[in-house]
Symmetry: C2
Subunit: 413 residues, 2 copies
């Protein structure tokens, strides 16, 4: 496909999308299971292609290499992911709501595929199969645009998905890879108006900025998570310690990890020393009041409170109360996940109502805000915007609702 | 506000949005009713401002003048519209769905306001009050950017809305007008990232193109309607005549009027002469086969089939069957509303499943696809895109869902 133009690929994706829209759940699940089998059968080919990508990745950081590298076990995880998606209920055809109008018209909203979903992503080749699998299950054609550093890996993975689709009786163009590595092609891809119904970027801040500046097709931003835990005056402090430690350290490199700790001043003296002890190994930076309680804490400025560390580092602030916590979050939060620890029902309710984020959590770790923990089965990203999808995006978020109206000759007076 | 920068207005809108998000339904309804009263009390001021706009509108077409002009009765309609919105159920707080996870976490999705809704629109000053009223009811702050030709009218209308909000105890900045008429300001407005949560354009193709090219905030396109009526082989031909006449002529200037008629070849000889007679006064253009049946019909080319006439003009094609109709619609449709007239359940079901549009209609006029006819109460536009909202957008589409998760100390293992 290397020499095929983005426009031509778009035409093929759109044609495939029309066929996919009416595919049965059984056919789509067969395709997913066949793709899983093919990934495993061909894992040595995939690993060889990936090894060539890794070899070619001169000057990449260790983190970038880690994201790029596949192993036997990562390929198995990709295959298992596809099998897992095959077991999920098909969202297509669900009647979302319905009513009968006074004139007898029967109105339904029915869940249907989006059509063509575009995915633009960096490095990680496992996104290729994870994203395409979810899109396929939801009845969409998928156009993938990975980074050039992962091209050989992506070509090998996409070949399995296309062959599986074909064997199951679906169009192989249900999964298409834009192979041309030039930046112009990425921009063309973001401008496939009338072809791409939803563009989902998976990557860092510069990719998101490019999408905002260049894309003319509708998109959903999978943004950063600058998540807070607020320990209220009425918190159970044992619970608070356990939640803060979990939210910060259980997996610090992910978007739903906590980056800041806010503490009500009335419990700061009692709580912060215990928290600091329990957060052994975590670099703590804090505002003046926090530093007055925990000796040796380095000072934290606005930059720290605005940063998604993705590391064993936590910014700490003492706030005057719930209002202070809500204001701090309004100023620094990224709209991902915000948690409160409290036994006061009024504080919990105000926090939930007044904090503007995809998810608000009472008395639990921020780490629960992902697709599998919330029961979505799998996720294609976590939206920090408000349009279409907010929070973890699963199969439902890869569909839309169509009005189906049945009458017996009604005309408008 | 004329000299206030767009950024400063944005800051004020965002602050107002935070207050609006927790306003009670009663307070919001009071504001709407007070605004309705003020519009009527000050109708002579509003009409004077409008008269100045009309006088200044040199070189405008009669249609543009008609859209710009307010009358006593149009102001009353605006007031009644606000009172009607006050009677609608408040979408905010609705629990969309919920479940308990195996670990005991209680997960709910709760409907909340979007935050700040931006409306960019042309001419019609009634949009000012209609749009702001719906946004206010849904708990949003509204930033309005009308055309400079309607500035005096918009200022007068917005003053009523702001005063009513203030009197009801809401921030007057819940409704803000960007008064600066320069194009640069419009572009700044479309790029208020972190402020505008949803931008809704109401206007023609060039506005939509500008939004796609320039906007960096999320937007929903209120697009054109190139709607078709397909008369199937198994149609009740009396019903078909009545539906086609209604869809074309009941109000030809609106987006849900029919623009093309597709007829199955097996009933074309019987149907088309009757339809042509009933469509007296409508200019018919057709493909070769249609012209062979209806004498004197002018030829229709691809351009005609792709055009939203918004007038008493209809393009007619004879198709070989359901597949031909579906393919024609896939090629020329704008994704708004598509209708089939048939007594064949299999044809109806295939049409509903395979036609990709915001609304598919069986045995009724396309004219029913609007907010009030479908029971939404009022609409802020009709979306022809698939993300967030598809079809008529009412109060629900001016909200989003937030995850609210309640636990008792759960941490992730």
């Amino acid at each position: 496909m290397a020499t095929t133009s983005v426009n031509e690929l778009g035409r093929r994706a759109k044609a495939a999308g029309r066929v996919m829209a009416t595919a049965s759940s059984a056919t789509k699940d067969t395709a997913l299971r066949l793709a899983a089998d093919l990934l495993e059968q061909r894992s040595s080919d995939i690993l060889a292609a990936n090894a060539a990508d890794v070899t070619a990745a001169e000057g990449a950081t260790p983190t970038q290499i880690d994201r790029l590298r596949l192993t036997e076990s990562r390929v198995s995880s990709m295959a298992d992911g596809l099998r897992q998606v095959a077991t999920l209920p098909d969202p297509v055809g669900e009647v979302v709501d319905g009513s009968v109008r006074p004139n007898g018209l029967r109105v339904q909203r029915v869940r249907v595929p989006l059509g063509v979903v575009g995915i633009i992503y960096e490095n990680r080749p496992n996104v290729t199969s994870d994203a395409a699998g979810l899109c396929l299950k939801a009845g969409n054609a998928t156009m993938l645009r990975g980074s050039s550093s992962a091209l050989r890996s992506n070509v090998a993975i996409v070949a399995c998905l296309r062959e599986a689709a074909h064997k199951a009786g679906l169009p192989e163009d249900a999964v298409l890879l834009v192979e041309d590595p030039r930046r112009e092609t990425a921009v063309e891809f973001m401008r496939l108006e009338g072809v791409i119904d939803c563009l989902i970027p998976r990557g860092g801040a510069s990719l998101i900025a490019t999408i905002r500046a260049e894309a003319t097709v509708p998109f959903v931003i999978d943004g950063d998570g600058n998540c807070h835990v607020y320990v209220d005056a009425a918190a159970d402090l044992d619970m608070a310690v356990s939640i803060v430690v979990n939210a910060k350290t259980q997996r610090p490199g992910v978007c739903n990890a906590a980056e800041s700790l806010l503490v009500h001043r009335s419990v700061a003296d009692a709580f912060l020393p215990r928290a600091a002890l329990a957060l052994d190994g975590v670099e703590l930076v804090g505002d003046e009041r926090a530093r007055g309680i925990v000796p040796g804490m380095a000072p934290a400025g606005d930059d720290d409170f605005a940063t998604e560390f993705l590391d064993l580092k936590l910014a700490v602030a003492v706030v005057d109360g719930l209002d202070g916590a809500i204001d701090h979050i309004a100023r620094f939060g990224s709209g991902h996940t915000e948690a409160i620890v409290t036994t006061d029902i009024r504080a919990a309710e105000r926090f939930c109502r007044e904090v503007d984020a995809a998810a608000v959590v009472v008395n639990a770790s921020t780490r629960f805000i992902d697709g599998s923990e919330l029961g979505l089965g799998a996720e294609i990203g976590i939206s920090t915007q408000k349009l279409h999808a907010r929070g973890p995006m699963g199969l439902r978020e890869l569909t839309c609702a169509k009005y189906v109206v049945n009458g017996d000759g009604q005309v408008r007076g």
